[in-house]
Every structure is written in structure tokens, then in C-alpha cells.
Amino acid sequence: MTDKPHFTTRRGFIAAAGFGGTALYGLWVGYGAAPGPLAVFGAPHGETAGGHAAPVDAQPSKADTLTPEAFEARVRDFVSRFGEADGSVRPQAGVPSQTAKSEAATHGSHGGHGAHGKQALETHAFEPALDAHAHRAAAAPIDVWLQAGQFFFEPAHLRLATDQPYRFRMMATDVSHGASIQFGAGGRMMRLRPNQLVETEITLQRPGEFLIYCTYYCGPAHDVMQARLSVTEGGAA
């Protein structure tokens, strides 16, 4: 029998055990989801848990922000260029965008905005041709324009190819929405705030039919706000 208090009843032990939750940091570092202890000395941050590079946040630039009207014009143009007979949309590389061409021309005629217009033309009007066999993984992303509004996604049915990078350019054009691509056992979601252009580069690795639904309560018909994503090998019909 000892006169000393057991270590489990010492204040220091209790105070230290109260920090038990911080032990989770080790797991985060193991999965590359947090900078390691050596990061302060400049060691590189590993791959993130999602198996991709750390998110790159492009800060908004007022001069370049798209208005909702301009965004909707882009979506209309996107649907008209790539729309199929069944109402689905199958974006492909190398199809010129009328909106981007006309915007580029407009910007080009306004002295100071000329450079931006040229960039837009290069980025959106003539998307780079795709060598489907040799360079698919390294291929330039194809833009996908997706509008979220009460209570719809436009386009409502996308047909995409596996292993092809897509740059999803999304905007909620009325109230806040969200978009989650569901894979049956887990999904990937994005929050969309009104009139903010949100950009995410996505590469799908498995063919299948996937549900896209709105993740953020947007009104009484929020339940029906959904779209379909059909993914095929190499974009086969």
C-alpha cells in the first residue's frame, strides 16, 4: 500500500489525457491530410487523402468575375454545342464556342481588355485537340459548364469519358446550392454560393451511371433537384 497518489489521479495526467483528441493528428499526417511536424522546416506536404494534389484555390478577381447572365450564356452555348438528341450533353475537345469567340472579339475591341479576350479565346473557343490513345491522362481538361438553380441542374444529363480530365465550371444563379456526384458508396460534393463561379478539375476513373444531387437546402422542391452523369470508357456512346 502506497501513500502516493496513483498516476491516473494526478492533475498533470488528467490535463494531458484531456488532450487525447489531438492524437488524431498522427493519422492525418499518415494520410497526407495535414502537414507533418517537419513542415515548418520546409519539408514538402504529401499527397492528400483524396489521392490528388492539394486543392488549388484561385482567388476571385473582380475584373474577371462572370456575371450570372454571362454564365448562363456560357451554359446555353455549352448545351447547344454538345447537346445530343436525347437531351444529354457530351462535351468534347476541339468544338468551337460561339460565345467565347464573340466575347473574345468584344473584349479584343476594348483596348485594355484585349489580352483577356485573347486568353478567353484560347481557353474556351478552341479547346485543344485530344489524343485519346497516347496522351489522355495528360490531356488538357475539357470545360463542363453546370448551372444550379431552383430546382434544376443545366444540363440535366452529362455524358463524360473515363480518364479524361474535365474542368467543371459551376455557378448557383439564384440561391445557394451544392452538387454531389454519387458513386453508390460515397460521393464528392461541392458547395455553390450564389453568383460565385466555382471551378473543380475532375477525372472520372470508372464507367457507370451516377446521380448528381443538390446538397444544400434551396427551397421546398430541393428534393427533386438532380441530374444524371453517364460515364463511358473513352466517351463511347
Binding site: 483528441g21 483524396g50 460521393g187 460534393m189 450564389p194 446538397t215
Partner: protein, 548 residues
């Protein structure tokens, strides 16, 4: 030996009793109303009742507004005042402020609930952008929350005045008194935050200002404080119950307890960033910093939990308690308050375990806005906080009225049943969240495009939810019966361990640290599951940020 708190409460003036009983009664009405809304939502989500989504969302709004805002804060107000009066032993000071606070909160509840009776359901966060065409209703809704905020500024002042009077008289402040000061302060801060978040929407609705564009950011911050600060109230209640129900005081001394209660000030406010991980314009560095800071969110709660459990375990072992778990059987589980507080501690372990999955920014695209969120936070709001508030009321109201709980022999099992229901609700809900089932929808079938498993999981959620709800209602009604004149009078029993027995030196307190170890292992498992699911998704994605 008698129970000091109950004795003091029993000697309060009729005016003090009326105030605390009125506030408690209204709080219990808010709880039952909110639970009724929750049952409706759970049944509709499972497809067990045929509700149009709009009605379902209205019930969801009722559920959130009544429980999250009015039950939690009216009950906290009543318990704070009762404990301050008990601490003082000389009645409440500035009672008029407390009545004013109650009147404001009651008016707020009437307006908030009245405003959701038709029009677009706004859910409990009252997003202004959804009410662009219903500004009058938004004004009513927001006035309700602003009144609640004003009430939360006024009411705790009565508690503070009572404590100051006690300190002047006694010349010192106990650990409980210190904790009550902090609690009163936090209620005031919450009141101010509510006004800060909802007044701009009110001004906009009245044409006195622009649309509050930053409502969602402000909401996230106030929401964080609103759902973590009641955990402080919870551990204070456990602390008081430990003394009054068991006759056990902290073996670590009052100063250590004061430090831990003060730690809430340090650890809770800066850990709110994780609620915003999905916001598109949140910089990457802030996401990382937010995750790292959030690792500290549980420090004060876990430390207070360890103090309480270790103190009880040492006393139990000194009275002959044996085995790793054997001493737990020595506790007075036949008392409904003990059962509620004990099960609340168990539920808190689940809540903390799961909460830590959500503080990791990389998992936000998988889990935020899914049913994982209600799956985990019901372990806190129902299993931990509400059970603890009910435990406190089960001790306070009989002391005030001299009348016992209704059907105490049956009601003591209500916390067990509620926990059982919660395990089904939360377990199925968390699994559903991992799989991608969204929260805040009434029909998650998506016209047959959703996986069939989603529907089965929602069935488990509904079954667990109904069991949890009915058990909670039974407990609430049993407590409310003490307010009725017909209920039989009953003297409070003495503390369970009514003789002073000092803990034996060298005795170990193992359960608390073991519980923390289990919680950490659970965090590892639940977080790793999230990472593995993320990695298995057939998608590579980068960005999600605000682009040009």
C-alpha cells in the same frame, strides 16, 4: 446528511420557484414540440408516412427551431438560475431581469414558431436568400431570434447578480460558482451572437439595409458556439450532480476545476472553422489551420469528464468497488437523474468520436451536408446535452415543488431506451452519411435513382429516432409532472454516499483514461474509414475553390 442543493432550492421564495418552474415548463413544452416535428421528419424520410416535401421541411424547421434554440436555451436559463440560487442559498437577485429575459425568450419562441407556419420553410438557420419574396415572414422569424438573443443577454444577469451577492457574503467563490459565472457569460455571448447574425436580416426585411450577404459565414460561427457551449453546461451539471446525488466532490480540488471550466473560453471559439470547409472561397491555408485548431475542440470537455469520472471512481473504490467496471454498479442507477447523466457520458463518447471525423478538411467533400452530420450531432444534442438538462431538471423541479417524478421506476429506463434508439439512429445515420445520403431532404429516393440501401438505412434512422423520441418525451413528461398540483409529494433521498470517506491513497482511476483511449481509437477508425472511402471513389478532383 441531506442534499445541499436540494435543501437550498427547497427554501427558495415562492417568487423564485415560480420563475424557475415557469421557465422549465416552457422549456419542456418546446422540447416536446420539437420532438414531435422530428418524429414527423424521420417517418417521412423513411417513407413510412406520406408527406409532401414542403410539409416535411416545415416539420424539420419546427424540430430545429423548437429544440435547438428554445429547448436548449430555456432549459439552460432555468437550470442556471436554479444553480445560482442554490449556490447562493439566499434566493435570486435581480429577479426582474430574469422575468424580462423569460418574457423576451417566450415572445421570441411565439414569433419564430408562428413565422414557420406557412410560406417557404426556412429551416432553423433562416437563410435570407430563401425569403426574398416573403420579407414580412422573414422579419417575424428573425425578430423571434433577436428576442431570444435579448433574453439571453438579460436573463444571465440575474444569475451573475445572485453569484456576486453570494461572493460578497461568503468572501470566496466555489468551483461551481466559478463555472456558473462562465456559463452565464457564455449565454450572454450566445445572445449577442444571435442578434449579430439575425438583426441584419431583420433590417433588410424592413427595408433598413441591404441583404446580409455574409449570413452563412456568420451563421457557421454562431452555430459552432451554440452547439458546443451547451457542452459546458452539461459538464457543469455533471459536476453538480456528482456532488448532490452521490455526495462526491472533485478529488483534484476547486482550482483545477476552475481552470478547466475557464478552458472553454480558450478552446471553443477558435475552433469553429471546420464548419466552413466546403465554402468555395475559403483559402487552402485556412482549411489546414482550421483542421489543426479543431483538434483542440474537445480538450475542456474531455478534461472535465476525466475529473468527474475519476472522482467518482476513487470514491466508489474506497467504498469497496472492485473490478475494472464493477464499481459502476455501485452508482444509484435507480434514480432517473443518475441514469440520464450516466448515459449522457456514454453518448458523449460517441459524439466526440464522430465529431472528429468532420474536423478534417479533406473529408468535407465526402461528408459535409450528408446524414453523417445529424447522425453524429444527435449524440451531442440529444444523447449528451438534452439528457443532462433533463437530469438536472429531474433534480431541481422536485426540490422546488416537493413533488416527485411521475412513474420514476419506469422512467429511470428512459435514458437507456433513448440511448438504444440513438445508437440505431446515429449508427445508421453515420453509415448513410459515409455512403452519401444527403441530410435536409425529405425524400432521398431521387425518383428511384438513389441506391436501394439508402432507403433501408433511413428505416433504421426512423425506427431509432422514434424510440429515442418517445423515451425522451416520457422522461420530459415525468419531470413536467412535478409542476402539477396533483402529483404526490415526496422528500428527496439523501446523497447516495452520505458519509465522508476519503479516497484511499494509491487507488487508480482507470475508466476515464480508458474511455479517452477508446474514444481516440474510435476516432482513428472512423476517420480512416472516411479516408479509405475517399480513396476508393472513382474520381480524382482538385479545386473546388472560387474561380475567376
Amino acid at each position: 446528511m441531506t442534499r445541499p442543493l436540494q435543501d437550498r432550492l427547497g427554501r427558495l421564495s415562492g417568487s423564485d420557484r415560480l420563475l424557475i418552474q415557469t421557465m422549465s415548463g416552457i422549456a419542456l413544452i418546446a422540447l416536446v414540440l420539437g420532438i414531435a416535428g422530428g418524429i414527423g421528419v424521420a417517418l417521412a424520410r423513411a417513407g413510412w408516412t406520406d408527406l409532401i416535401p414542403e410539409s416535411g421541411y416545415r416539420l424539420l424547421t419546427l424540430h430545429g427551431v423548437a429544440v435547438f434554440f428554445y429547448w436548449l436555451y430555456l432549459a439552460q436559463g432555468a437550470i442556471l438560475l436554479a444553480l445560482c440560487a442554490g449556490e447562493s442559498g439566499d434566493g435570486l437577485r435581480s429577479r426582474g431581469l430574469a422575468w424580462l429575459g423569460l418574457a423576451l425568450m417566450l415572445g421570441g419562441m411565439a414569433l419564430s414558431l408562428g413565422a414557420i407556419s406557412d410560406g417557404t420553410p426556412l429551416l432553423y438557420n433562416g437563410t435570407p436568400e430563401l425569403a426574398v419574396h416573403e420579407l414580412g415572414r422573414l422579419a417575424l422569424f428573425n425578430v423571434g431570434y433577436v428576442l431570444l438573443g435579448l433574453g439571453l443577454l438579460a436573463l444571465p444577469l440575474a444569475g451573475v447578480a445572485t453569484l456576486l451577492s453570494s461572493v460578497r457574503r461568503a468572501g470566496s467563490l466555489s468551483a461551481t460558482g466559478f463555472a456558473l459565472f462562465a456559463w452565464a457569460g457564455f449565454l450572454g455571448v450566445t445572445g449577442f451572437a444571435l442578434i449579430y447574425v439575425f438583426a441584419p436580416g431583420l433590417f433588410w426585411a424592413l427595408g433598413w439595409g441591404g441583404m446580409p450577404a455574409n449570413h452563412s459565414t456568420n451563421w457557421h460561427i454562431v452555430f459552432h458556439n451554440m452547439h458546443y457551449l451547451p457542452l459546458m453546461a452539461t459538464v457543469i451539471i455533471w459536476y453538480v450532480l456528482m456532488q448532490d446525488l452521490l455526495g462526491v466532490k472533485s478529488v483534484f480540488g476547486a482550482r483545477f476545476s476552475k481552470l478547466v471550466f475557464a478552458a472553454y473560453l480558450v478552446f471553443v471559439p477558435p475552433t469553429s472553422l471546420y464548419h466552413m470547409f466546403l465554402e468555395p472561397d475559403l483559402p487552402g491555408a485556412v482549411r489546414i489551420a482550421g483542421s489543426l485548431l479543431s483538434l483542440f475542440v474537445s480538450v475542456p470537455t474531455l478534461t472535465a469528464f476525466l475529473i468527474i469520472v475519476a472522482s467518482i471512481e476513487l470514491h466508489a473504490r474506497s467504498r469497496g468497488g472492485r473490478g475494472l467496471f464493477g464499481w459502476i454498479r455501485m452508482l444509484p442507477w435507480h434514480e432517473p437523474a443518475m441514469a440520464a447523466a450516466g448515459l449522457a457520458m456514454v453518448n458523449m463518447a460517441f459524439g466526440i468520436t464522430l465529431a472528429f471525423v468532420l474536423i478534417q478538411a479533406d473529408l468535407a467533400p465526402l461528408l459535409s451536408d450528408t446524414f453523417f452530420v445529424p447522425g453524429y450531432f444527435h449524440f451531442f444534442t440529444v444523447g449528451t446535452v438534452s439528457l443532462s438538462l433533463l437530469a438536472a431538471l429531474a433534480l431541481i423541479l422536485p426540490a422546488l415543488s416537493g413533488r416527485g417524478l411521475a412513474l420514476p421506476r419506469l422512467v429511470r429506463f428512459a435514458p437507456h431506451l433513448a440511448t438504444l434508439g440513438l445508437l440505431a439512429f446515429g449508427g445508421a445515420g453515420v453509415v448513410a452519411g459515409y455512403l452519401g445520403v444527403p441530410r435536409r431532404v425529405i425524400d432521398a429516393g431521387y425518383g428511384g435513382e438513389a441506391p436501394a440501401l439508402w432507403s433501408a438505412l433511413m428505416g433504421w434512422v426512423a425506427a431509432g429516432g422514434v424510440l429515442m423520441a418517445l423515451a425522451l418525451i416520457a422522461f420530459a413528461l415525468s419531470v413536467a409532472a412535478t409542476l402539477l398540483p396533483l402529483q404526490a409529494r415526496r422528500a428527496a433521498p439523501p446523497p447516495h454516499w452520505d458519509a465522508v470517506v476519503q479516497p484511499r491513497p494509491g487507488t487508480a482511476a482507470l475508466i476515464g483514461p480508458l474511455a479517452v483511449l477508446v474514444i481516440v481509437l474510435g476516432m482513428y477508425g472512423a476517420t480512416a474509414a472516411g479516408f479509405q472511402i475517399m480513396r476508393s471513389l472513382p474520381i480524382a478532383a482538385a479545386g473546388g475553390g472560387h474561380a475567376h
